[in-house]
Amino acid sequence: MTSLPAIALGTTLGLAAGIGSYTFIYARGASYLTDDPAACANCHVMQEQYDGWQRSSHRAVAVCNDCHTPDGFAAKYATKALNGFWHSFAFTTGRYPEPIQITGRNHRVAQASCAKCHADIIASMNDAAHTTRDAADCARCHGSVGHPID
């Protein structure tokens, strides 16, 4: 009895890996490794954000990866691989929330990315009122800068 779930889990994971990597290649999941936003839109489910991004104030200044991957080669490609794999998996199985919602980790990545480029502008906001408390959550007021609409 107790082993059944384990087996089931094992198979699923194996399957998952299989399917996952299948899409990863087929649906050009590798585009997760490029910086071309059009590549992100290889998945129609990213179309919404892509369309939004093209209308956004950041179109000319930031691509998807500027906001959705952390600094530093290692971290960057770690995140890309992680997202790339899980999103490919989710895409294939269709098991993901509608509408798509940012997860904690990626939300923090995006938040950090704002600071990366806007350090000066937010200097007094956070440093002057510098604080052991949480820094201001940019998306609370600027959630749509990357891609207006939801």
Binding site: D120, A123, S124, T131, A136, C141
Partner: protein, 463 residues
């Protein structure tokens, strides 16, 4: 994430520390040397601009010995004479004006005619001046001790110890510039409130999040209050909760009354600026939007962003105050506010008419010799209905901070006052009358609905 900013800090000097600030630095001009932009905006709170229901209108007057002010805000008593009837026998019936910018808080308190007709305690100072340093001096370094001392002084004496309207030091830690609560009233009030929610020994300055502090610093003063006992201790009546019903229940329990109504003899209460309490019943509070988000929105100055310290009506600053979150046009946003306010204002007028009618009735009955026994219950209804009405009337956003709640409170107010008129007629006719039931958001009056308050719980929505 925090570290990112900490890293940046070492890297950059966000401002030039021209002067050293410490916990004795009272004068905002000195703080202004380090933070010229914030100081500049802070000084602009002298501006007087009127909006449909807010802001304020600069009314010229000839300065006198007793009152040197050459400009005051418009009189609310003249705008709505019914207020004099509601407050008959209380200082507010002699002088009550639209509130204006922070720069005026000290003068307006000092020179209001309400000071002439009554002897006010030093407690008043808590919210009209920079009392942080004075409290600590008085208390020999102990804030609370100083607070207690000043409460018991006559106002005039306390006044001599205070030199500024609310200042930087009242909201900021001079070392870190972090927000902090310096007001005993709020420290104790929020602790009592949290206790009612099952959180004991709450310490706002260590336990509140940054976003909460962006509201709490305002909650230090924009709240309902009363002076407790002979020590005149400033108290925020939040022991049962923040809703009007919770506060009503508290006042009934401790048997507090502000005064006896001149025309009716009812033991009535005065509600005062419950912005914090009402805001907490609204959708913005629920969405984590702070007072400062709307009343001190960020403003770009050169290469950086500062909080606009020109605290004022957001309708004078819609694009920064609202449009970052709401992509509607400025006109549309203004119109949304004014529509919500007009709905509240109309209901408020109906509730005011109802109250005046009840007061007239009791007054007439009294004149024609009705007994206290007969007037007992109608007076209780007046106390109830009047406080509910005043809770919205005294709240300064004309309902915007919590539109549904404002309408709900006015509905309850009207129901209480009309029930008072009915009770009076029945009492005079020798019929039995029922006093108002205990106030509670879900149980308004002693009629049949109690059993129906709740529908049977539905089965789980999953199938």
């Amino acid at each position: 994430l925090v570290n990112i900013f900490e890293r940046k800090q070492e890297a950059r000097q966000p401002f030039f520390r021209v002067v050293e600030l410490d916990d004795e630095t009272e004068d905002p001009a000195i703080w202004g040397k380090n933070f010229p932009q914030q100081y500049d905006r802070y000084q602009r709170t002298v501006d007087q601009v009127r909006t449909r229901f807010g802001g304020s209108e600069a009314v010229p007057r000839t300065p006198s010995e007793a009152d040197p002010r050459s400009l005051v805000a418009q009189s609310r008593l003249d705008e709505d004479p019914r207020l004099r009837i509601m407050w008959a026998g209380y200082a507010f019936a002699t002088d009550f004006r639209e509130e204006r910018g922070h720069a005026y808080m000290l003068d307006d308190q000092t020179f209001t005619e309400r000071q002439v007709v009554t002897q006010q305690p030093g407690t008043c100072m808590h919210c009209h001046g920079s009392v942080y340093v004075p409290y600590r001096k008085l208390g020999g370094g102990d804030l609370i001790a100083g607070f207690e001392k000043m409460n018991q002084m006559p106002y005039a004496e306390a006044r001599t110890l205070v030199n500024h309207p609310v200042a930087c030091i009242d909201c900021h830690d001079p070392q870190t510039m972090q927000l902090r609560v310096t007001r005993p009233g709020f420290l104790e009030g929020i602790r009592a409130y949290k206790a009612s929610q099952g959180i004991v020994g709450y310490d706002v300055n260590t336990q509140a999040s940054r976003q909460e502090m962006r509201t709490y610093v305002c909650g230090q003063c924009h709240v309902e209050y009363y002076f407790k006992g002979p020590e005149k201790r400033l108290t925020y009546p939040w022991h049962k909760g923040l809703k009007v019903d919770d506060i009503m229940a508290y006042y009934d329990e401790v048997g507090f009354r502000d005064w006896e109504h001149k025309d009716t003899g009812a033991p009535v209460l005065k509600a005062q600026h419950p912005e914090f309490e009402m805001y907490n019943q609204g959708i913005h509070a629920r969405s984590g939007v702070a007072c400062a988000d709307c009343h001190m929105p960020y403003e770009r100055v050169g290469g950086t962003k500062i909080s606009d310290h020109h605290v004022r009506s957001p309708l004078l600053n819609v694009n920064r105050a609202c449009q970052t979150c709401h992509k509607w046009s400025e006109d549309e946003l203004k119109d949304r506010v004014v529509s919500l306010q007009t709905r509240t204002f109309t209901l408020r007028n109906h509730a005011m008419d109802a109250l005046v009618a009840l007061i007239d009735d009791i007054k007439a009955a009294r004149a024609s010799g009705a007994t206290d026994a007969q007037l007992e219950v109608p007076r209780q209804y007046q106390r109830r209905g009047q406080f509910y009405l005043d809770f919205v009337e005294a709240e300064n956003s004309m309902g915007f901070h919590a539109p549904e709640e404002a309408a709900r409170v006015l509905a309850d107010s009207m129901n209480y006052t009309r029930l008072g008129q009915i009770a009076l007629r029945d009492a005079l006719a020798g019929k039995p009358v029922r006093p108002p039931s205990d106030p509670s958001p879900t149980n308004l009056d002693p009629l049949k609905s109690a059993a129906l308050q709740e529908r049977p719980a539905p089965p789980p929505a999953s199938r």
